[in-house]
Amino acid sequence: MDYFLNENQQIIRDLARRIADERVMPVRAELDEKGEFPWDIMRTIAQSDMMAINIPTEYGGLGMGGFEFILAVEELSRACLGVSTTFAANALGTYPILLYGSEKQKKKYLPDIASGKRLVAFALTEATAGSDAAGVQTTAKLEGNEYVLNGTKQWITNGGEAEIYTVIAMTDKNRGARGASAFVVEKDTPGFSFGKKEDKLGIRASSTRELVFENCRIPKENLIARQGMGFIVAMKTLDKSRTGVGAQGVGVAQGAFDASALYAKERHQFGTPVISFQAVQHMLANMATEIEAARSLVYSVSRYVDGGAKDVSKESAMAKLFATDVAMKVTVDAVQVMGGSGYMKEYPVEKMMRDAKILQIYEGTNQIQRNVIGQSLIKETAKKK
């Protein structure tokens, strides 16, 4: 379907597609097998200005919107979710600075982020704080002109590879959710090290790692926004980034659909291509319909967010929820359409099925997305009576 993309949007989509086809597809199986961080691809992505898309021009970016950014995410996801997770997590980690950073912080970090010179990671999750972000135990204590960080973050995408980390830590445990604050921590700060590197079911090219803070001292000016605003920063960041996860879902689903439809046309059984069986056609018809519905929702919400809507929690949760559930279903069905071949490593869909699962879990599980939508509905109905 034609979404009437403007010229800039077409340029970005076409270039991201070319990078996906020429630089990602040929190596994705190997990156998956080895669990290797895709540095070469990240450099290509950076050199092509993909990391500058939604950074304002005054900080070395292209000054475009979140919609332009997710078009790139979608295309990269069509080829490999491990790569697109690395790319999208970079943007996730950037949002706290973009949305709440001081002029000085923006000047200091955004140009290097836009050029891809330094990668970024976002660190909220801990052993005790998954869906329940209020379980954060990492502390940041103000001592003179420095904050002293102690604690361990887990499952942080780009951990170890990124050079800039946006970290949520408790500045006042007694104040609960109001006691959290957001900070920038740079790699190589004394007291900041990396722990366990996870071995995963999918998105194996992406790095998922522990961050360990032991009396890690950072300058006071690394506080993002004000003390106590940590969870607001985190929630607004996730509101912004969720359409990106939705776009990942659309991309991986499209990749799986393309591979399985092509196979169904070429594979013969009972003297005819398997695509001629109505049972197979119906599976493909459902897949194609659901992908288009997901894409329409993700694009609409992304444009809505860029349009300056104030509260986008419900809509962005809907886009993430729907598109990633579609991704899971479509990738499973793509394996089914391809039969035994779909289950084999010679074909890309088994990887896509493994990869797709993460989309229903990270940046808020799909149960949590439903909670977010539900809470908005309660608020809306309360207003109506």
């Binding site: 800039n8 270039l15 050199q47 092509s48 200005d49 500058a52 898309i53």
Partner: protein, 260 residues
């Protein structure tokens, strides 16, 4: 420092068919690309920009539609582009092509001229070295690595059948490059935006101080009588059997045709 990169627009040979009757390329409807070797030359120039102040100009001689190749080169990091286009250039052989390019390069000015090793359609590999001769500057062919560039000196590795030579030259110099030199980059979003709006300078015969008798068909000493793929006439025979049997029958065959 000024670098001129000579690029040629060629048909995408992956897509091309050959007319079986005339043995000529069927160019109609075939997409055009930048000659692949020239992309390596351009990449080398753009990488030099990262080390020192360099202005990279891409130059092509061709019909007006060769502008597409120049715009693509801009998206890959070239600073500006010159199209050499004039009816008077039509029918140029390698001699006339090189003469015309040299005249244009003199007009533009260059410390380093970069060319591909050869064009994948014409395949002569003559234009680079001939252009250097017309410019009366040294050339180094088959460059696989640029070791260092200084204000008046360049040091490169030249690919040889076995190993490589390290060659040093004064500037200005012309290099022809091989694929081993680098991996060409992808375009950038900024580059693409720039390529859509940038102006392409067109130079014709009156702009380059050339002698009209040396241009185009008039200036081309080569005369094409016929183009054909040499027919394979030799008979083939596969020899089967164990190693001893094969040697035995090979010796027999060679004696039969009086090679032994």
């Amino acid at each position: 420092m000024k670098i001129v990169v000579c690029i040629k627009q060629v048909p995408d040979t992956a897509e091309i068919k050959i007319n079986p009757e005339t043995n000529t390329l069927m160019r109609e409807g075939v997409p055009s690309i930048i000659n692949p070797f020239d992309l390596h030359a351009l990449e080398a120039a753009v990488r030099l920009k990262e080390q020192r102040t360099v202005r990279v100009t891409v130059l092509t001689m061709g019909p007006p539609q060769a502008e597409g190749a120049l715009r693509e080169a801009i998206s890959l990091g070239a600073d500006d582009a010159v199209l050499l286009s004039d009816r008077a250039f039509a029918g140029s052989d390698t001699w006339a092509t090189s003469y015309t390019l040299a005249k244009a390069i003199s007009t533009i000015g260059a410390d380093i001229v970069l060319c591909g090793k050869q064009a994948i359609d014409g395949d002569t590999a003559q234009v680079g070295p001939e252009t250097a001769e017309f410019l009366d500057i040294p050339h180094i062919s088959y460059v696989r690595k640029i070791e260092s560039v200084e204000d008046t000196m360049i040091k490169v590795q030249r690919l040889m059948d076995e190993g490589y030579d390290v060659v040093q030259s004064s500037l200005p110099v012309l290099l022809t490059v091989v694929k081993e030199l680098n991996i060409p980059r992808m375009p950038s979003i900024r580059g693409i935006l720039q390529s859509k709006k940038c102006e392409i300078r067109t130079l014709g015969k009156d702009d380059i101080n050339a002698d009209e008798n040396d241009l185009g068909l008039k200036g081309s000493p080569t005369q094409v009588k016929n183009i054909f793929a040499p027919e394979s006439t030799a008979e083939k025979k596969m020899i089967e059997g164990t190693a001893e049997e094969k040697v035995e029958s090979l010796l027999g065959e060679l004696k039969k045709i009086k090679c032994l």
